[in-house]
């Protein structure tokens, strides 16, 4: 046992030593760090109480989507297998828009990212690039979505993945925000939101999504503390149909390490949260305080 621990310590320290910082910058909103080890490069939003990797890419296998939560967000394709227009909130390293643009070269992909520095870093270090079909808007997501609503722009697939070093900004978690987002979903539109399944906030967040969208799929995988919410704002498709779609998509997604055919059985309709929790609104959204309880 001791020897095992010793080896474990040696292995982990050697990994730490092998990791080096290749870029560091203080942006308007956060400290951005890019770390690289022998086979991985990660984007980190540094906060003192525990750095959180936003995105990692594998240097040996650049196509591979490294994080389980990032793979899980592709579950939206089971409800909307042919999105022509996609909106991604929060760029990070650009994994989602990059993979989606390869899967759907003709689709229009818009990204709202508040921090210009993140766009620069994603482009320089994470193989992200803008093109005719992929555009980034450096804007607060709330403002972007409200304006899109006024201009009557709609999207077939919307992915909410706006994370700071801490959690999701409070004004992007309220019923009003979700209603504004719902208003820019096309008739066949689907929303995918990446959230955490730990802490008391889980109850509040679940109730909030429920009051804006009615039912949704609650998607959790054993390997991660993330919970992905998937909804079309109406009747959810049967598991059988999703499994068929998953089997068809599985081949295309294999090289990105997204095992989508495993997803449908983990996408639950059961409400495993406290239904009496208070929904978050623009008037009441102490979300990041609730998270610590």
């Amino acid at each position: 046992m001791r020897i095992f621990l010793l080896i474990l310590v040696m292995v982990s320290t050697s990994q730490v030593q092998a990791e080096r910082i290749i870029h560091k910058e203080k942006s308007l909103y956060r400290n951005i760090v890019v770390r690289e080890s022998s086979n991985r490069r990660c984007l980190v939003f540094a906060v003192k109480r525990g750095d959180r990797n936003q995105t990692c890419i594998s240097l040996n296998d650049p196509d591979r989507v490294v994080f389980p939560y990032a793979r899980m967000t592709f579950s939206g394709l089971l409800l909307q297998p042919k999105p022509d227009s996609i909106l991604v909130i929060g760029l990070g390293g650009g994994t989602m828009p990059t993979v989606l643009s390869r899967l759907y070269p003709k689709a229009t992909i818009h990204v709202a990212e508040i921090d210009e520095a993140v766009v620069r870093v994603a482009t320089k270090y994470f193989n992200f690039s803008e093109s005719e079909n992929v555009r980034v808007f450096v804007q607060d997501a709330r403002v972007y979505i409200k304006r899109a609503g006024l201009k009557k722009i709609t999207y077939d697939l919307i992915i909410l993945d706006a994370f700071t070093g801490d959690y999701i900004p409070e004004h992007l978690m309220t019923v009003e925000f979700l209603q504004e987002t719902k208003a820019i979903m096309s008739d066949q539109g689907v929303l995918v939101a990446n959230t955490f399944s730990t802490s008391r906030l889980y109850d509040h967040e679940s109730v909030t999504y429920e009051s804006a969208f009615g039912t949704f799929f609650n998607f959790k995988m054993p390997v991660t503390g993330n919970r992905v919410i998937i909804t079309n704002g109406g009747q959810l498709p049967e598991t059988k149909l999703m499994q068929d779609r998953a089997n068809k998509l599985a081949g295309k997604l294999r090289k990105y390490a997204i095992k989508i055919d495993n997803f449908p059985r983990h996408m639950k309709r059961t409400k495993d949260w406290n239904k009496k929790a208070r929904p978050l609104t623009d008037q009441f959204s102490p979300a990041n305080l609730l998270r610590d309880d």
Binding site: L28, Y29, I114, Q139, D140, A141, R142, V143, K146, R147, L150, P169, E170, H171, T174, E176, F177, T281, D282, Q283, F284, S285, P286, L289, L290
Partner: protein
Amino acid sequence: MKNSINTLVFCLAFISGFIIMSIELLGGRILAPYFGSSIYVWGSIISVFMISLSVGYLLGGKLSTRDPGLLPYGSFFLLAAITLVPAIIYGDTAMDAVFLRIEDPRYGSLVASGLLFFLPVAILGMIAPYSVRLLVENTHHSGQVAGVLYFVSTIGSALGTLLTSFYFVLFFEVNQILMTMVLVLVISGFSSVICGKFLS
């Protein structure tokens, strides 16, 4: 009698300091749904509060030269309460209008926070210099009196910031907190007016 007036003035200055910062902090919450929570939204709010307060200081100082007393002093609180109510009731309408007309969220948030907060905060700003006038008995002590007054009202501001951001938002809706502020301002105003009548 002078002592009880002083106590009242210090209490009310504390309350005004508390309320100013509580409103400023909630301003961020109120503007976020329309203009986001980017750094420039805070820039707009803080600038508007500073401008409003500076205008208030000027006006309050000027008014204190004309027959100063607890009656006009109390009316500042009542006026601040009255001007804060539209920000609560018509805030969304005003921000909708600004959002439609101004695309740039920097100027949008600047105009919106000006519309919502300029009047009540300028009136609250009148309280500090006016308080000094009510407290000062002779020029010899004026600096010391001003020092204690700033101490009291700024401690109020610190507490207003802290309690609002740590606790109030955890239990209450933004508008509930603002309505409570209105109520406290009304009570403060009337207590000053009543004391003014009673003591004169």
